[in-house]
């Protein structure tokens, strides 16, 4: 087969011959004595939608924190577009092309919806300090473009009508959507979504699935998502990795994962008695 390597959960045919956008090699982190993640290897194709699932406390969010450099890994490395991210911090990782949402929503609550997205566009809005304070033409031009772009991005989720609302006043589902828009605004090549459907009802989840597919198609970026909603994961992910106790125990297509005995065991426990850690 034309697959680039076998570490990946599953690279869709369209990405098979392209260089991966992200690669993790033996990634691991310890918190004191606790090994939260160990030997995590994954390869993500440039336009792939990849799912990361696993029971509570498996280490999924920790992996996102490692990728985005909220934590520095104890072991292993992450390559972004072929470049080692060893020396990056969070903000540089973002500028290198990683954007994310958070499991426990982290919006700028007292800022408006538009301002939230404008912060996302910060590095794409180019004018200096002096140009801002003296209100030079560069300021007006860049602000105008940024505001138009914000409305365009909000349109993905049909939120352009509420751009003046305080982010903290939005209902839960809209806050999750706004976080995605803000992340997209930074112009990522890989978008990491931590439980994007949490707290959404089935209809909202359905809509979210469509929108994730749309983002993947329109922006031509890779999306990695953590999710407990199996309908969403099985519905839109091309490759899935299953995590248990910080270890990747299975990877493959949704169909493969559903049949994998290790996965069933991780979720439901061993047939005879409780599983040992």
């Amino acid at each position: 087969m034309g697959r680039r390597d076998t570490k990946t959960p599953f690279v869709p045919e369209r990405d098979a011959y392209k260089a991966p956008v992200m690669e993790c090699v033996n990634l691991g982190i310890d918190f004191g004595g606790l090994t939260a993640v160990n030997d995590f290897c994954i390869t993500i194709g440039p336009t792939e939608i990849c799912g990361l699932i696993g029971p509570n406390g498996a280490g999924k969010t920790t992996i996102f924190n490692l990728l985005t450099k909220v934590y520095q890994p104890t072991r292993g490395s992450v390559y972004l577009n072929g470049v080692d991210t060893k020396n990056l911090n969070s903000e540089k990782a973002n500028r290198a092309g990683l954007a994310r949402t958070f499991q426990n929503i982290r919006l700028f609550k007292n800022m408006t919806v538009m301002e939230n997205v404008l912060v996302g566009l910060h590095n794409k809005t180019e004018y200096g300090l002096g140009e801002a304070i003296l209100r030079m033409p560069a300021y007006w031009r860049a602000e105008k473009i940024a505001r138009a772009r914000t409305l365009e991005l909000l349109e993905i989720f049909d939120m352009q009508g509420i751009h003046g609302h305080k982010a903290g006043s939005l209902p839960y589902g809209s806050q999750r959507r706004l976080e995605i828009v803000r992340a997209l605004a930074t112009g990522p090549t890989v978008l990491l979504l931590d439980e994007p459907a949490a707290g959404m009802n089935p209809a909202e989840t359905e809509e979210l699935m469509e929108n994730i597919l749309k983002i993947n198609k329109v922006f031509k970026i890779a999306i990695v998502l953590i999710e407990h909603d199996m309908k969403l994961v099985m519905g839109i992910c091309e490759g899935i990795g299953v995590l248990n106790y910080g270890k990747l125990i299975a990877k493959g297509t949704p169909a493969e994962i559903q049949k994998n005995p290790l996965v069933i065991e991780a979720y439901l426990g061993k047939a005879e008695g409780e599983g040992d850690a």
């Binding site: 969070s90 973002n94 954007a99 007292n110 912060v119 801002a132 304070i133 803000r182």
Partner: protein, 334 residues
């Protein structure tokens, strides 16, 4: 019906005209000698405190950090400006302007020197480090006898701080900070207050923006210090003790963290109050504390919360109201 809005250029023109009128009329009144000496002194003092409060608000209100050494930056600026002015290197008008800039720049340099180590760390280090800085500066100014004349005081500082100079600085401070905050740089500063981890995840250089806010804040504190020196004519290090820092912080907190308008109003009120309460001078601290406690209980976000005054917004509101009333009446008449 179409909403009435004031276009941005019109708003800028309107505000500029109003500000110039304020400066012109104020200058006229203060020079005509209508005001008593004490009233004039009060007016000037309100000016310093507006600059100090608005600049501190940039760090406490907008950036969400807690520095406790604002008087330290004021002191640095005061001595830098005073020494520059005393040297009489330039003709007076130019000397005033350059002296103020020197005062601001020197204070901003100290701001960067303190800010870089303190702001890289998360948590309350800034409070502790700036507290120490304020005290160290005061002790140093006392002991650098050959330059500052220590506790005897630095005398013969040219009295440059007229109404026009002080309030021009007030206007510049408010304008610069306003323009800064309504830009991508200001949004970056706000985003750090709102959620630092999220700000980083959006690619914001958090340390840079923290140090920037801190340095701009120190700059204007330094300018206020120089104005203070140019008003008093003499400086002693004890002018810049810890209580001065706390007083400025109190103005910002009472006015509403993150509200420039709140800082301006609170600076005026809290400078005016002691003047009014002179007969009760012994109880001043008690009255202050009570006020602070009462405001914190009933309105923890400060008197004005994060409200920002905007004349054009008010005009727009009033005109739209009038238009809709007239529209309603016209329909009713038909």
């Amino acid at each position: 019906m179409k909403e009435f809005t004031i276009s941005t250029p019109a708003r800028y023109v309107m505000n500029t005209v109003l500000v110039l009128m304020f400066l012109f009329i104020g200058n006229h009144i203060t020079q005509s000698g209508i005001l008593l000496r004490s009233q004039y002194a009060l007016l000037i003092q309100i000016g310093f405190f507006i600059i100090l409060a608005v600049s501190l608000n940039l760090v406490t209100g907008y950036l969400g950090q807690l520095p406790l050494g604002h008087a330290g930056f004021m002191a640095v600026g005061a001595y830098a400006g005073a020494l520059f002015w005393r040297a009489h290197l330039l003709p007076p008008t130019l000397s005033i302007i350059v002296g103020l800039i020197v005062a601001g720049v020197v204070a901003a340099i100290f701001g960067v020197l303190i800010g870089v180590p303190a702001l890289r760390l998360r948590g309350d280090y800034l409070a502790i480090i700036t507290l120490g800085f304020g005290e160290i500066i005061r002790v140093m100014l006392t002991n650098l006898d050959s330059i500052t004349y220590g506790a005897r005081g630095l005398l013969n500082i040219p009295r440059y701080s007229s109404f026009l100079i002080v309030y021009a600085c007030v206007v510049i401070t408010c304008t610069v900070i306003h323009m800064l905050m309504k830009s991508r740089h200001g949004r970056a500063i706000l985003s750090i207050r709102e959620n630092e981890i999220a700000a980083e995840s959006c690619g914001i250089k958090t340390t840079y923006y923290k140090v920037l806010a801190f340095a701009v804040s120190a700059f204007f504190a330094g300018v206020a210090g120089a104005l203070f020196a140019g008003n008093q004519g003499l400086l002693v290090p004890s002018d810049f003790d810890f209580m001065t820092s706390i007083n400025i912080l109190m103005i910002v907190v009472l006015g509403g963290l993150g509200s420039m308008f709140g800082s301006v109003v609170a600076a005026a009120v809290l400078t005016f109050l002691p003047f009014m309460l002179q007969p009760l001078a012994d109880y001043r601290m008690i009255i202050y504390s009570l006020m602070l406690i009462i405001v914190m209980i009933f309105k923890p976000s400060g008197l004005l919360g994060s409200y920002e005054f905007s004349l054009s917004r008010i005009i727009e509101k009033v005109v739209n109201k009038a238009l809709s009333l007239r529209g309603g009446a016209a329909k009713g008449g038909r």
